[in-house]
Amino acid sequence: MQPRTRFTALYEATVDRVMAYCLRHLAADHAEDAVHDTFLVAWRRLDSVPEPPLPWLLTTAHNIIRNRYRSQARALDLTARLAQVSRLAAEPADVAVGHRGDLLAALGALTDDEREAVLLIGWDGLSGSEAAAVLGISHAAFRVRLHRARRTMADALTDHPLRSAP
């Protein structure tokens, strides 16, 4: 396959998920720039993009946000980040509105690092070791972080027991 065709296939398959990831850290216009930079790296290093590509792309995006957009990521305060997550979250028909709200509230009870750990698994579909690689921490440290996050979420969800659909 021609490199351009391969790139386009990669882009179409993954760009929305990379964008969703960047939107967890950056305002929309900066997120677009970070996506641009991430795929520029992918294009220039097309031969080193592994299969599956998503963990590699998210690691790249993570590095780019850390290195190039850290001040912009910083400018997005906690309130705005949570608002972003809540806008991003799907609204599936089979999930009660109340449950969706409770889950998002539980996410808000987490620290940034814990939330990131949970979303890499729950939203981005990465394995524990892949998520640890994205965050640049050991798998063991990741498991501890995830464990803490689950416990906090469980507490938050117990405080606000699941509501039934209206």
Partner: protein
């Protein structure tokens, strides 16, 4: 369903548009932009590997950097002409490749460590697969060791690294004061990287098929003796051989080219001198001191000679040597003079340093020389570096010695070492005191000079202990919070250890390892390092990223909550340096570099600034009005590819004037940074402050004048905690309502002139925070908007209805 995560995965986003309204359009655009980044096929110059590794940094040449460059005077320092003393050599930034083995480190230009890689790959995709070797000139590097270059590659014992270096050329080599990895965020702010030449277009849209069996080189051999031959190049997409002849020789040339080449060929004519004339110019250019490499570069826009020079200073001698061919010469400098970032304190000559006597016992009334140990106060990776020639002023009762050190953009922040210099006094000390001029300056740090400026007196020696760098926070009354009720404040940033306690860095943070804080630190009360178990330590440096909440009294942040957050640095709104138009205009004038364009554009009415597109294929000029007229003017005068775009916001002159005024009041207002930002996303005046208040922001607005004030963005290091708030912006920034009360914007409503939000605001609403302060409501958001609204007593409805 994964019970472990309580069903969270059912909410996994399927469409980012929910949080990024323009995503559908952007998605296609980003795809196309990335793919247009470059497919190979063009011939490549020997230095393209150097340029290639630099390209990742090249992406963000700040527009403010370009504006600053306009005022720069080129300084001539070809490598062959060593400066007589290192002290007078200008400090330079450059994008280079370092090579060496063992302890040896050299700057290397002209290398092709990967020459066997197929040239069809874009330069940036060529990995250093084979053993790198410096094939061109090498210059010894001092001041750095390979330990400083943590990102270096080692292949077969040979070390190799791309780096952004700062330093001076001395008689013996390059004296570096620091080196940054290309990926270092700081390297991005250095306006140093040579412009990548554009990928050339094809000469025709409908190539013919060559009937020969040769490659492009055979075409060159067959053609170069023909009169009227101008040159050839491969265009990238589609992959076509282009051969150019003088207009009256195209037919003759076509026959030769088609008979020789075995692929698609375009034959046509381009402006410019003949192949022989350009080749003669190339040979002449090679002899000019300071020229590092040359390449013939015919393109559809003309027949050019490209010359890589060490420095802009070679341009006059190059122009003289080339004569008429100068008009067709593109010059790319490796080094540019360091421009000092405004925003922190600036001393007239160099960076601040303090001194103590190296050995007080050797100083007497009869001394005419004194040995002093000089310590840099700013951050420079622990190195004081080069001391500028000390200034000595003699008065009746004291002798004042000022020991500035060479300016550097900054570095990590362990306590700097000291450098000994001998100061010659014009006469014996006699009955006078020796005084450190730094401690007499307005900017003197209290902690350094708390025991006075006197370093020696006839009656006994004064020698203060030199502590690590600290800075007294601003104590101007305008810094005080205006709220009387219990306002709470927050700050997120990096804490650094000073004398065993954590301080909050509000100045620039250097993201080296260990990180460092440049100057401004705010003292914290109520916490110790015991509260921050995630703090990191490297050598003497202790630091931690933290999110702090508490109360700020104008001097000290009394912290009652500290948590770990993502690593941070001072916030600023980000420019977006995309190409400003779909198809850049090809100028018909002369000169293709950005300085030529900036000089021309600067004369346009309402000129705002220019920036490079990330792909380096075009320059983008922003004007306040008459974009079409501007484009016509520039097309006739400029020879390169460019876009002209009309933006709302302050002109370049407005920003310059505003910056100059802010500079004089920076300290009183607690300003950390200021300057203009121009890019596809708009033009702003950006001001970073320790703690913005309605009063201090109003003072800034008054100071900078209406043009800059209308696009002001304010970023505070310490902020009052407000309520999450959505400001309705659909018809402009007019009024807001909260808790049953109505407030109107102080200074009257603002919009874009058509009843829409001003540029830079989300529509229909902006997300941010609201702080209530008596009869004022202050809206702030993450990009730096700071809007004050005044209570309308008794109001129960909006002033105007916006639909």
């Amino acid at each position: 369903m994964n019970d472990d995560l309580f069903g969270l995965e059912t909410l996994a986003p399927s469409d980012p548009s929910a949080a990024a309204p323009g995503w559908r359009e952007s998605r296609r655009r980003i795809h196309d932009e990335v793919l247009s980044d470059g497919i190979g096929g063009r011939r490549y110059a020997p230095w393209q590997v150097v340029l290639g590794v630099a390209a990742s940094i090249l992406l963000v040449v700040a527009a403010t950097g370009i504006i600053q460059q306009l005022g720069r005077t080129p300084i001539a320092i070809p490598a062959e002409t060593p400066s007589p003393t290192t002290a007078s050599a200008p400090l330079l930034d450059g994008a280079v490749v370092l090579t060496g083995s063992g302890d040896v480190m050299e700057l290397c230009w002209g290398i092709v460590p990967t020459e066997e890689n197929p040239p069809s790959l874009p330069p940036t995709a060529r990995p250093p697969a084979m053993t790198p070797s410096c094939r061109g000139e090498r210059v010894a590097v001092t001041g750095l060791t390979w330990e400083d270059i943590a990102w270096a590659n080692t292949v077969d014992g040979v070390r190799w690294a791309a780096a952004a270096v700062t330093g001076t050329f001395s008689g013996t080599g390059f004296a570096a004061t620091r080196a940054l990895a290309p990926s270092d965020p700081e390297a991005a702010s250095l306006p140093t990287f040579p412009q990548l030449p554009a990928y050339p277009d094809s000469l025709c849209t409908d190539p013919e098929s060559g009937k020969g069996s040769g490659d492009a080189n055979d075409v060159l051999v067959a053609n170069q003796s023909l009169t009227g031959f101008l040159g050839w190049w491969m265009s990238p997409e589609p992959h076509v051989l282009n051969v150019a002849f003088a207009a009256d020789q195209v037919e003759a040339g076509r026959k030769v080219a088609l008979a020789t080449f075995d692929g698609p060929v375009c034959v046509g004519t381009i402006p410019g001198p003949s192949y022989q004339a350009i080749e003669a110019a190339r040979v002449a250019a090679e002899k000019v001191p300071g020229v590092q490499a040359t390449e013939l570069r015919p393109t559809a826009s003309g027949n050019h000679l490209e010359v890589l020079v060490l420095h802009d200073g070679s341009k006059p001698s190059l122009a003289a040597a080339l004569g008429d061919a100068w008009e067709f010469t593109l010059v790319t400098p490796i080094f540019t003079p360091v421009t000092v970032t405004r925003g922190t304190t600036a001393s007239p000559r160099g960076d601040d340093a303090t001194w103590v006597l190296a050995d007080p016992s050797e100083v007497s009334r009869e001394s005419t020389t004194v040995r002093v140990a000089v310590m840099r106060l700013g951050c420079n990776g622990g190195r004081t570096g080069e001391v500028l020639p000390p200034e000595v002023s003699v008065a009746d009762d004291q002798i004042t010695i000022r020991t500035d050190v060479v300016k550097v953009p900054g570095g990590s922040c362990p306590g700097n070492d000291s450098t000994e210099v001998v100061v010659h006094l014009p006469e014996p000390i006699g009955d006078r005191q020796l005084v450190d001029a730094y401690c007499l300056s307005e900017w003197a740090l209290e902690s350094i000079c708390q025991r006075g400026a006197v370093r020696w007196s006839p009656s006994g020696t004064e020698r203060p202990d030199i502590p690590t760098v600290t800075s007294a926070p601003p104590t101007d009354p305008t810094q005080l919070p205006t709220k009387t009720q219990a306002a709470r404040h927050e700050a997120s940033g990096t804490l650094f250890d000073r004398a065993g306690s954590p301080w909050l860095c509000v100045g620039l943070i250097f993201t080296s390892n260990p990180p460092g804080c440049a100057r401004e630190l705010i003292p914290l009360a109520g916490i110790s390092w015991d509260d921050i178990p995630w703090a990191e330590r490297s050598g003497q440096v202790i630091w931690a990223d933290a999110w702090l909440q508490g109360t700020f009294d104008g001097t000290t942040l009394a912290v009652d909550s500290v948590t770990e957050t993502a690593p941070t640095s001072p916030p600023s709104a980000s420019p977006r340096f995309g190409q400003a138009c779909e198809s850049p205009i090809q100028g018909t004038g002369t000169g293709t570099d950005h300085e030529t364009l900036a000089n021309l554009a600067n004369k346009l009415p309402g000129y705002m600034g220019l920036w490079f597109s990330p792909d380096q294929q075009s320059l983008n000029v922003a004007v306040q009005r008459d974009a079409e007229a501007a484009a016509t003017t520039l097309t006739a005068q400029f020879g390169g590819r460019f876009c002209v775009v009309q933006l709302a916001g302050p002109s370049a002159a407005d920003v310059e004037a505003a910056s100059a005024r802010l500079e004089t009041s920076a300290k009183n207002l607690g300003l950390l940074t200021w300057g203009g930002s121009i890019s596809r996303s708009g033009a702003w005046m950006e001001v970073g402050m320790v703690y913005p208040t309605p009063d201090s922001v109003a003072k800034v607005r008054d100071l900078i004048g209406p043009a800059a004030a209308s696009s002001l963005r304010v970023v505070g290091a310490i902020r009052t905690i407000g309520l999450p708030f959505e400001l309705y912006t659909h018809c402009g920034i007019r009024e807001l309502t909260h808790d049953g009360k109505w407030y109107a914007r102080e200074g009257g409503p603002v919009d874009d002139g058509q009843g829409n939000p001003p540029p830079g605001w989300d529509n229909p609403a902006g997300t941010g925070q609201l702080v209530l302060d008596g009869d004022r409501a202050i809206f702030t958001d993450g990009v730096g908007h700071y809007e004050v609204f005044l209570l309308r007593p008794g109001a129960t409805s909006p002033l105007e209805v916006c639909d």
